[in-house]
């Protein structure tokens, strides 16, 4: 019974977070901090940031990864699944309703005009999101070069993203480890 209540709480926490955060990913951090760290004391703020770092550098949507991670830390594999269902369900409900409605009037000229205007706003939101992320990830000229190269090879030659992921991870290992070895040698 106690177990069941814990699953229910896990589900409802992530359902709520999924239902009120727009954009996902980093936008979710303040909400998660309030619900999980301050109110429920399920984990420390540091651990939450760790989960984000991992969620960001492992396959999958960051928000889902963090939910899975927290769910697993609470109640193992069943907890991971319950938390994941919780974070995903609001999207499925809302989008199915909207898609069902929008499908019928997406061809109306006014709707198309509205969507063209909205796309301009989306461009702005994305540009700012990129600059926010970039400030944190591009910390020196090497990371700058990797980021720029990744951008260019995809835009110019449509190189598969998989390849970019693999090569940049490999470059990170080679460059960073060599640099650390040099530092150790100097000491």
């Amino acid at each position: 019974m106690k177990k069941l209540r814990e699953y229910a709480e896990l589900f409802s926490v992530f359902f709520q977070i999924g239902a009120v955060t727009f954009g996902g990913g980093l936008a979710m951090l303040p909400m998660l901090e309030r619900e999980l760290v301050t109110r429920r004391r399920w984990l420390t703020a540091e651990r939450l940031v760790d989960y984000f770092a991992i969620g960001q550098s492992t396959p999958g949507i960051i928000a889902v990864n963090v939910a899975t991670f927290v769910g697993h830390s609470r109640r193992g594999i069943p907890g991971a699944i319950v938390a994941t269902l919780g974070i995903v369900l609001p999207s499925i409900l809302v989008i199915c309703v909207i898609a069902g409605l929008l499908g019928t009037f997406a061809d109306v000229p006014a709707v198309q005009k509205a969507l063209r205007g909205i796309n301009v706003v989306v461009a702005v939101l994305l540009v700012f999101a990129v600059s926010r992320v970039g400030v944190k990830t591009v910390t020196d000229w090497i990371t700058g070069a990797i980021a720029l190269t990744a951008f260019l090879v995809i835009v110019l030659w449509d190189v598969p993203a998989v390849l970019v992921v693999l090569v940049s991870a490999l470059l990170g290992i080679i460059i960073r480890l060599r640099r650390e070895r040099k530092k150790d040698a100097a000491v």
């Binding site: 727009f22 954009g23 996902g24 770092a53 991992i54 969620g55 960001q56 550098s57 396959p59 999958g60 949507i61 960051i62 928000a63 889902v64 991670f69 697993h72 991971a80 994941t84 974070i87 995903v88 999207s91 499925i92 809302v94 989008i95 909207i98 898609a99 006014a110 005009k113 969507l115 205007g117 909205i118 796309n119 301009v120 706003v121 989306v122 461009a123 702005v124 939101l125 540009v127 990129v130 992320v133 970039g134 990830t137 591009v138 090497i142 990371t143 980021a147 720029l148 990744a150 951008f151 995809i154 449509d158 598969p160 993203a161 970019v164 992921v165 940049s168 990170g172 290992i173 960073r176």
Partner: protein, 186 residues
């Protein structure tokens, strides 16, 4: 697109989305827009809806695209495909998290990975820019410079940039402004 194709397409997206929803957008674009499964305009209107509704953008997009092909069952199949890889990978990582965290090569890998990821996110931004703000394809088709540079759009773009930087309002507010702008001026 069959259920199996839908599932494996999104399984692919879920597996290689490293760095979050915006990377997923780039992958979905490569998997669906480039081969012609969906038009760019339709795709970006879906992005707009996914941005302005609750939930992670990557999940919203997967649900929406799945719905586009097979209704509610399609939405479930696409979302399941997107989520499955992270579920498996994160459960494995969570088990050994305390052991792996401090390994030098793991930290070195993240150092390069995050930078590459940033470049990939920038591609998503670039692609929306070249559809919505500087419509390159429409310019190439007509050859008229007026198609490429639309003053109304540029002024609105600049205004939103300034407003977004100044006032940290909810993104949905700006999305709404965009809709009104489109209906009135475009």
């Amino acid at each position: 697109m069959s259920y199996a194709e839908l599932f494996f397409t999104f399984l692919y997206v879920g597996t290689f989305t490293i760095g979050g929803g915006l990377v997923a957008l780039t992958l979905m674009q490569q998997q669906l827009v480039t081969p012609g499964f969906i038009t760019p305009d339709r795709f970006y209107s879906m992005v707009a809806v996914s941005e302005s509704t609750p939930g992670p953008i990557g999940i919203n997009m997967a649900t929406y695209l799945g719905f586009e092909y097979h209704g509610i069952p399609g939405a479930l199949v696409a979302t399941a495909g997107t989520v499955l890889p992270s579920l498996v990978v994160i459960i494995i990582i969570a088990r050994f998290f305390h052991v792996w965290r401090e390994l030098p090569w793991v930290r070195a890998m993240f150092y390069g990975l995050r930078a590459g990821t940033t470049g990939m996110i920038a591609v998503a931004a670039w692609q929306v820019l070249t559809v919505a703000v500087f419509p390159v394809a429409r310019f190439q088709a007509s050859g008229r410079i007026s198609e490429l540079i639309d003053l109304r759009v540029l002024v609105f773009f600049a205004a939103v940039c300034i407003a977004y930087k100044r006032f940290q309002l909810h993104p949905a507010v700006y999305i709404l402004c965009g809709a009104v702008f489109g209906i009135v001026f475009l």
